[in-house]
């Protein structure tokens, strides 16, 4: 069960049971985005407000497994008040921690890389509590759960920038 202990760190279960920044924001002025994991039905909803390139407020909702929901909760703590550029850097570092480089299909990896360490997160970005999700590395199908919140957020930020 050592791998399971690794996957379900106390901090993850805590965020799952008491998610931070849970709720809704009135839209507008906030923007709302939904992300789904079609494989298992996990769902993350993000409300966010930006001003001058900064994320001034956000709330999250949705339902799903402990990994998808705790990851969204951890994410919400990590990015509040940050600039869009900073957020993108954290996202890249988070994905790198899980062994995802841009361009490959998430959740499908070679056997050999499953047990190895992920590429080290870029030095400059501190992932803090989010490092608790590193155990997900060993469970490739769960990687999609861990990045659901992040992907939903990134798509939303992209749309906001383009509009």
């Amino acid at each position: 069960m050592a791998d399971l202990e690794d996957l379900y760190r106390e901090i993850i279960l805590d965020h799952y049971r008491s998610p931070r920044n849970r709720g809704e924001l009135p839209c507008p002025p906030a923007h709302r985005a939904e992300g789904f994991n079609p494989l298992c039905g996990d769902e993350v909803i993000i409300y966010l407000e930006t001003k001058d390139g900064k994320l001034t407020d956000l709330k999250t909702g949705g339902q799903g497994c402990s990994i998808s929901q705790s990851s969204a909760s951890l994410m919400s703590e990590a990015i509040k008040g940050k600039s869009v550029d900073e957020i993108k850097k954290i996202a890249t570092a988070f994905k790198a921690m899980l062994g995802i480089e841009s361009g490959n299909i998430e959740g499908i990896r070679e056997e050999s890389s499953q047990n190895g360490e992920g590429p080290e997160a870029s030095e400059a970005v501190k992932l803090g509590d989010m490092e608790a999700l590193k155990g997900v590395m060993k469970f490739p199908v769960r990687i999609k759960c861990a990045v659901l919140g992040w992907n939903t957020l990134l798509t939303e930020l992209e749309e906001l920038q383009n509009s």
């Binding site: 069960m1 298992c40 799903g64 497994c65």
Partner: protein, 411 residues
Amino acid sequence: MPLDVKKIKADFPIFCQEINGKPLTYLDSGATSQKPRQVIEAMNSFYETINANVHRGAHYLGERTTKAFEDAREKVKKFINANSPKEIIFTKNATEGLNLLAHSLGSTLKDGDAILLTHMEHHANIVPWQLLAERKNIELRWVSLDEEGKLNMEELEKLADGVKIIAVSAMSNVLGTINPVKEIAKLARNQDSLVVLDACQFVPHSPTDVKELDCDFLVFSGHKMCGPTGIGVLYGKQELLEKLPPFMGGGEMIINVTTEGFITNELPWKFEPGTPPIAEAIGLGAAIDYLDDIGMENIREHEISLTAYALRLLTEKHGDQIKIYGPSEPAERGGLISFKYGDIHAHDVSQVLDEHAISVRAGHHCAKPLMQELGIGATVRASTYIYNDETEIDQLSIALEEVRDFFKLNK
């Protein structure tokens, strides 16, 4: 006659292995079944000895292959008691069969016509009709379920009034509910509606007689009944299939083609464009032989008794934590049990079970409208087949105790 599960299991090479030092407890046959050596060998032997294309080469191999392919069709015909091999269309899977119907049968509908579906359908029996409703002005009506996950028959009767098609699953892949198909067909007969049965979860587990069921069309997939992936069956009454326009065009489905147009081939080839899944059809034929040897009646009895055991054991040992969906009476359901465990998400439950080499499915099971009606995002589904026995249900129960302890639920 009770199944000799030990003997059956020995036919399945996949069970020779251990996973992380533990024997494999495969409880995900609702998604796809394992394959016996007899099926694997039939397919290998095809490739090693007679491989050629069908209905083309006038040479030895071509003739042998064509015969083997058409023999497989004959086996399917007998297996579901159809009138003629013309009524057996080979498809890629059940999903393709339903898309074919939504397209070809759908093209015979007029604006304003209605189709009746139910809240327990698999996406495969929803989205093709929704695509049709996007092309044409077709009304989709939905039958809801009662507390045990059975169709509200009174509502069904009302909503069925005047519909052109009733498309319903013979057995739910989430709830396990076996639907009163004959009753539905009778209703349809009284008012000229056609009945389409999604029998994906039914055919592998029960004797199937299309005449007795009195359905107009029926689809299923080979891979859930010991056969390979890549092969499915669409059954349709001959006089109805004759009248339908083809779905996809290409070789094999034509008699003649000129620059001006084409003449469609006869049944069943009219609906089988291009090179068909030949080895897969032969594999399905071998799977049918295998299941027939065991006996479909025996398989059904085995599943009722295994389901009864599972319902009893899980309620007894996990009554405080577990919520089981579907009918409480084992004879009203097939060999699968969907449940929710405490407040632990299905994904997290299945992760712990996987540590015990127990394979279950966690998720929405491609039935999101149903999940919405049940008010949940996901369930755990343990589904059994001919190679499962009570000791594996015991394993499931023991592993669930560990789930409870690991996530610190109260006893």
